[in-house]
Symmetry: C2
Subunit: 343 residues, 2 copies
Amino acid sequence: MSNPTLEAVARAAGVSRATVSRVVNGSPKIKTESRRSVERAIAELGYVPNRAARALVTRRNESIGVVIAEPTGRIFGDPYFAEVLRGISVGLAAREQALVLVMSQSPEEERRAARYLTGGHVDGVILFSLHGDDPLPEHLKSHGVPVVVGGEPPHGARVSYVDIDNIGGAISAVNHLISLGRTRIATITGTLDMPAAVTRRRGYREAIRAAGRTTDTNLEESGGFSREGGQHAMEILLQRCPDIDAVFAASDLMAAGALSALYAAGRTVPEDVAVVGFDDSIIALSTQPALSSVRQSMEVTGRELANVLLQTIDARDQIVRHVILETELIVRQSTGGPPTRKS
Amino acid sequence: MSNPTLEAVARAAGVSRATVSRVVNGSPKIKTESRRSVERAIAELGYVPNRAARALVTRRNESIGVVIAEPTGRIFGDPYFAEVLRGISVGLAAREQALVLVMSQSPEEERRAARYLTGGHVDGVILFSLHGDDPLPEHLKSHGVPVVVGGEPPHGARVSYVDIDNIGGAISAVNHLISLGRTRIATITGTLDMPAAVTRRRGYREAIRAAGRTTDTNLEESGGFSREGGQHAMEILLQRCPDIDAVFAASDLMAAGALSALYAAGRTVPEDVAVVGFDDSIIALSTQPALSSVRQSMEVTGRELANVLLQTIDARDQIVRHVILETELIVRQSTGGPPTRKS
DNA sequence: CTGAAAGCGCTTACAG
DNA sequence: CTGAAAGCGCTTACAG
């Protein structure tokens, strides 16, 4: 239960506590001999540094807060969250930083989270799935807490972030549909209080206009980033514009819902209606037919979030860093691509 | 950035550090007057106790490790994880305990996790989604780390756990199918290295036998707890036994996959084949038709996990506690129930 | 390259 | 009911 202390290691190795501490922390100016005997003692005793004691003097907690500010049930159905979390976990583990998870689903919980996060318990904070004009990033920053957000930050928040090229991804998806000769291209948007949803819609519109066509809001419907929402949006779109021959959905989950609606309406995919999703998550391969999708690596996003944050903490600066990750269109059967082998 | 210390509060309130500490920790024997002036000073200065300093003396970290030992991609598609996590989060937040998330997907990562968790960094550990004979629970316990596992623990591990009534749930599902007059009832099982999967299959078999019928392994196929797996299992089952008129799937996700396969094979649900899932997760309401399902509250499971662990930590005992939560069959259209209003 | 010593911010017997 | 004091296990100038 009670682990050996530095003191015990020092005694066993015949050196001072300071020397052991230096070895543990990888100080370069240690005689090889001392280092070795210390290392042996550490191994023999199974010494593990006491985090609390270390944190008390270094003022570093070696832990990072990760807040998922998702008030809807989306977190329960969309692989996005688990994948980003996984990436963060990998990025932090490499640096021996603990991941303190904070799930805030209500204003009350967000207040509690803010209190905790500014209480000096963590060295920095990663925020993602932010909605609307969430003040949390600015609030943390103003309290001197290093912050990085996943996705585009709220208006006016001057904080570091890691995002993907949403606009480029959306454009490539729509251009692909256009190149297929589709003329009535609809879009199912995400929750429009999220920047990613707005930006993907903008990409859709830009691509339509760049092709010399006019946009039509009858061809746009929100699916709220959920499967059911996507299905429902597709039903509405079909009713409003029965001649739709292509759909760009801002997430795979919504695209999967759209597929169900199309199927139910007797449309074939991709013959009658071509469908492109976004994310290229595990879902894209599990639909029938497999989904063409804009690939983003959510795990890489997570890893980058961890990297940027740790960099900011190390540098002790207030420099705002932006990382934008590329996307890539993956063509599968839902737009006429070759059959995909199921994994 | 640097928060005020106990010392500062003591000065402001005109008392000693010890008194402030007692107020902060809710000691009963404090004069109301002192308490009040301390409370005012705390509020004015915005004092927040330094966790590290406190942890150093109390030997409590006020944080709990939560490990999700899921090596497969299942974590990315199944709402189960997020919901349990959510419940744990709520349970811990109420007690101001931090949730340190550890995602271990490989033996290497599990070793790292074990090292971290026995290093005295957390006060206790919640483990879930354990596979096979994972030695982690016993390992932690032998190092004196309080542990509670979600679901039935590995064979021989004498640790506390919170589980649901898997066998009762499975029996009620199959009995329901029998009561509908179905005679060829198949089952899609989960990953059979997990106790929940094995137990649900056992419930299926018991119910079949209790009805005076014989079990037939041709009617059993693993769907690996994934949507695709469920779909594939259903395809195999239909091929092997085209006369199947009902299916009990050990998770909603697999049931949703089965629905796709049935649809593709031209079978109607519930007319040709009745389907029951398990979990009653968000998925059950998003399929077409809506799924009958065995309801378990994953959030309650999470909250109970937190409660049992905190109780064990508080009691400083080694008592092994078991909590078994009830399940309830929810009947919807996939077995002929009334239409469900989509949320 | 190494050690003695101060100090990080708390809690908690102990004495009153 | 309250305060003085010791001590939790580390790190880090400082001096050598």
